[in-house]
Symmetry: C2
Subunit: 212 residues, 2 copies
């Protein structure tokens, strides 16, 4: 995708819309598995507990318009969402930190099915280096800089322990990483041109432990 298309696309959907699109996609894929050819916006809205107007607006941002009082062609809708999300393309990435959570992410089919392509995992623990986890080779963290540059990797999933999160972040950004998906509990600092996504399991656990 060239820069212009990318920018056009960026302006056509808000972050909350983008965050909702996977739920639409899963629902419509399931409808396809069940043999449905057409699905209405109202059915989608009911299933996901959203307003029908919201659903139509969200789906319109992928470029697809349903037929009034009929709905969407299931296969067209799947294609439109997949293309919009770039889930029909490969996203080469590395995992940094192959502990329990990192290992789970390497084997999480949900991501690989939708384009996330781990080329390698990096670890300081010598017992893990050289082994494979869920089919992905584990390499020495000392060579991560070279690997990123050689393979031109732009996406890193960060699952190291908190104490070294910022240090590792600085190192991989210096090597060329442009997107970091941070699963550590630390708020890491990145330059403005780096996209940072934080996955924060502790926040939900906090709500759970206060209210349950």
């Amino acid at each position: 995708m060239n820069k212009l298309n990318k920018n056009l696309k960026m302006s056509s959907a808000s972050i909350p819309t983008i965050r909702r699109l996977p739920a639409y996609l899963y629902l419509v894929r399931r409808a396809k598995d069940e043999g449905l050819v057409i699905i209405s916006g109202t059915v989608i809205a009911n299933e996901l507990d959203l307003e029908p107007i919201q659903v139509r607006k969200d789906l319109a941002s992928t470029g697809i318009i349903g037929k009034p009082r009929v709905g969407y062609q299931v296969s067209d809708l799947i294609t439109a969402i997949e293309e919009f999300l770039n889930w029909d393309k490969k996203h080469d990435a590395i995992l940094v930190g192959a502990g329990n959570l990192g290992s789970a992410l390497l084997g999480y089919k949900e991501f690989s099915k939708n384009g996330l392509n781990f080329l390698a995992a990096f670890e300081a623990d010598e017992l893990k280096i050289g082994k494979k986890i869920n089919g992905i080779k584990v390499m020495n963290i000392d060579v991560v800089h070279d690997f990123i540059q050689k393979e031109n990797i732009q996406i890193a999933v960060l699952t190291v322990r908190s104490g070294i999160a910022q240090e590792v972040t600085d190192k991989i950004i210096d090597a060329g990483i442009k997107t970091i998906w941070n699963f550590t509990k630390v708020k890491i600092k990145v330059p403005k041109d780096v996209l940072l996504l934080k996955e924060d399991l502790s926040s939900s656990y906090a709500v759970l432990s206060v209210y349950s």
Copy 2:
């Protein structure tokens, strides 16, 4: 904690405040490890990229007030946050679905350190039943109903595959589960008196794949 205290506590902090508290706790625990005795609200605010007034307000909801122009006693602050979050108490729970993600959660020290206590994991896969994952025994999903009732479990972490998520949810709620932490990609339906927390890894991946 009795009902009254619980209700008083509920009214004293908003959900966004509760979601931010773990980040404060990790920062202050780290400060303690580094030998700090006092920490100022401004330092906390800078570290977490928040406004100082926000930090003081959030921390005040745990019942702790810093000294003007001095700050907070590190150990008092840790205790106040841990007590407020109930992270100083055990939260008995079960895991339902011992795939990759589920297995990782069983071994995620971050949760166990803060009170989450998995008593068992439940699976339909006969190859896993009877084994242990990260020290937690894996039991047959067929006995989950009995287990919940016998052990009076109220918290379930849901990591089954999407196709059976609703069916399993109905079953465990019928058995007495009052809190579900949903890691599946399905939007499950629960009665009003059940607390539902959704962890949605796909939403972040959607943003990542559109923008990177």
